[in-house]
């Protein structure tokens, strides 16, 4: 092989090798999917068998099959609730991103703003959401907006603190370089601080995605049956009162599934954004 020629000509990708590499990548990814799926299937089987062999009543512990049947039978109402909860979650996450990133940018522009406001962001974070949710629900007339505020409070902080950290962790020499070339504040932000903050922001986003869902569900619980908007938590409360335990499990399943999906989507986004350059996303070859 003439390595020198390749080096001079720049990156050369041979088609046959590319195909082989793709096959290798799939072969690598397959066990990573198959292993957890196998564990899941085995657990469900054991669960199903135990329920039948022990003769456990469905109102104590329903079998997976029964839960699945209930889910399908009640899909109409559950689907509406799922949609409501997901809407609250997504909106809360979007507002958290917009406000969190804006505030973080403001923080890096002025030390005084950061010093004055950061403690309150911390207070917002450390106060348990269950404790303030009733207040918010009383204060805000529209329950949907009250739920949104609760979910937002929980989702907001990781984005704010991570993005602030990221904006401040731009390489010192690069900051000097920008200064040397007379970069304006905006250019410094646009071309240096924001890209440098990206991995931190995305890390915060992944945490906040799950937290937004938790915040939404907790707020729904607190709002209880009083809320005319009926999210998944409301379905769980309702099934509890009516002792429809399989339906409770079905709603619970939907919540967990949503959480996992949110995590997967955000992980994918993070990977796509960082895959070309950040250590966390690149596949090491040595």
């Amino acid at each position: 092989m003439n390595d020198a020629a390749i080096a001079v000509a720049g990156p050369v990708v041979k088609p046959a090798r590319a195909a082989a590499r793709r096959d290798a990548a799939i072969a690598q990814a397959l066990p990573r999917i198959l292993a957890p799926v196998a564990i899941g299937v085995i657990t469900l089987l054991l669960w199903e068998i135990t329920v039948h062999v022990r003769g456990i009543e469905p109102y104590i512990l329903p079998s997976p099959l029964l839960i699945a049947q209930t889910l399908i039978a009640n899909w109409g109402s559950l689907q509406v609730s799922l949609w409501v909860t997901l809407q609250t979650t997504a909106l809360a996450l979007i507002v958290a991103v917009v406000l969190g990133v804006s505030l973080a940018i403001l923080f890096t522009q002025s030390k005084w703003v950061e010093l004055s406001f950061f403690p309150y962001a911390v207070i917002l974070q450390v106060t348990p959401i269950v404790a303030i949710a009733p207040l918010i629900i009383i204060w805000v007339n529209d329950t949907r907006i009250a739920l949104l505020i609760c979910a937002w409070i929980v989702a907001f902080f990781p984005i704010l603190s991570n993005t602030t950290l990221g904006l401040n962790s731009a390489d010192h020499n690069l900051l000097n370089l920008f200064q040397l070339y007379g970069a304006s504040r905006f250019q410094m932000l646009r071309f240096l601080r924001l890209p440098a903050a990206m991995p931190y922001f995305l890390g915060g986003l992944r945490i906040s995605g799950g937290l937004a869902l938790i915040g939404a569900v907790v707020a729904e619980f607190v709002a209880g049956t009083g809320g005319q908007a009926s999210g998944l938590a409301y379905r769980i409360l309702e099934s509890g009162y009516q002792l429809q335990i399989p339906k409770m499990f079905a709603a619970l399943f939907l919540i967990s599934l949503s959480g996992v999906c949110i995590f997967l989507v955000l992980t994918l986004v993070s990977h796509l954004v960082l895959r070309r350059w950040h250590e966390s996303a690149i596949r090491r070859e040595n």
């Binding site: 000097n176 040397l180 070339y181 007379g182 071309f191 240096l192 440098a196 990206m198 350059w277 950040h278």
Partner: protein
């Protein structure tokens, strides 16, 4: 080896190859420059030097003697605590700051990891709001100049240490600066790559009308490259002596093995030892 005999008489005959600081138009003057950091460290004391246009000057000294500090002050990164740095031939902006028109090559490549090689090189032009097409052309040209044509779209992590350094140099020269400040740019590289980049740098310097201030702690490198070497001593950082290297350019591999090169190295080495003992 036979070829070696040729440059020697030329050097000895005393024909000045290029103007030196004292003869050339001064481009930057440091007078009584002192730098004390807030923690009390006196990094530089009573530093005096003149650098002329188109000169190649090296700052040589032991680790921690304040070379980087001086270079950064010249670049305007951190003002001296006393003394002054003058730019006699530069325009001044409304705030009275000189338009230094310089580029800085840091000890580390200092590339943006999220940007491709060409986007890294385009950065200074982008900050100066150059038109996109011109930016592309000039960046590609600068990359080709440092021998990295074909690697425009490679990310820094896909490049070797020497290649990253060359991207960093391309970024420094893309603005066609009057002055190039280099802080031990090749210190982390292997010898072969370093020699190659030394030659490339000299070639570029010969072709463009640059002034280069080059920081190094290698006697051999400073003698090979420069017209004049400013030897510094530590604690506090100060100038011990200035040595002119009269050997003519172009200098190439044969110069590295010539007796005159050896003589210069020995003389500079002695100065450096004196500096370290001082």
């Amino acid at each position: 080896m036979i070829g070696l005999a040729a440059p020697m008489p030329a050097a000895d005959s005393g024909a000045p190859p290029l103007p030196t600081a004292t003869k050339g138009r001064p481009i930057v003057t440091l007078r009584g420059v002192e730098k004390q950091f807030s923690n009390g460290t006196l990094a530089v004391e009573d530093f005096n030097a003149v650098v002329g246009a188109h000169e190649f000057v090296s700052l040589l000294g032991p680790s921690g003697c304040g070379k980087s500090t001086v270079l950064r002050m010249i670049a305007g990164l951190g003002a001296p605590t006393s003394g002054e740095i003058d730019w006699p031939s530069a325009d001044h902006d409304v705030a009275g700051e000189p338009r230094r028109d310089l580029s800085f090559v840091f000890q580390e490549p200092t590339l943006m990891p999220w940007a491709t090689a060409i986007r890294n090189v385009m950065l200074p032009l982008r900050l100066a709001r150059t038109a996109r097409s011109e930016m592309q052309d000039r960046a590609a040209e600068a990359l080709a100049l440092v021998g990295l044509g074909g690697f425009e779209n490679a990310y820094p992590r896909e490049l070797s240490g020497g290649m990253k350094m060359r991207v960093s140099i391309a970024r420094a020269i893309v603005t066609r600066p009057r002055i190039l400040l280099m802080d031990e740019p090749f210190a982390a590289l292997d010898e072969i790559t370093r020699f190659k980049l030394n030659n490339d740098l000299l070639e570029l310097w010969g072709a463009q009308s640059w002034t280069v201030i080059f920081v190094t702690h290698s006697v051999f490198e400073s003698v090979y490259l420069s017209q004049r070497i400013v030897v510094m001593a530590a604690r506090p950082g100060r100038v011990i002596s200035e040595i002119a290297i009269t050997a003519p350019y172009p200098r190439d591999e044969s110069f590295r093995t010539s007796p005159i090169y050896n003589d210069h190295c020995r003389a500079v080495s002695a100065e450096l030892h004196r500096a370290m003992a001082a």
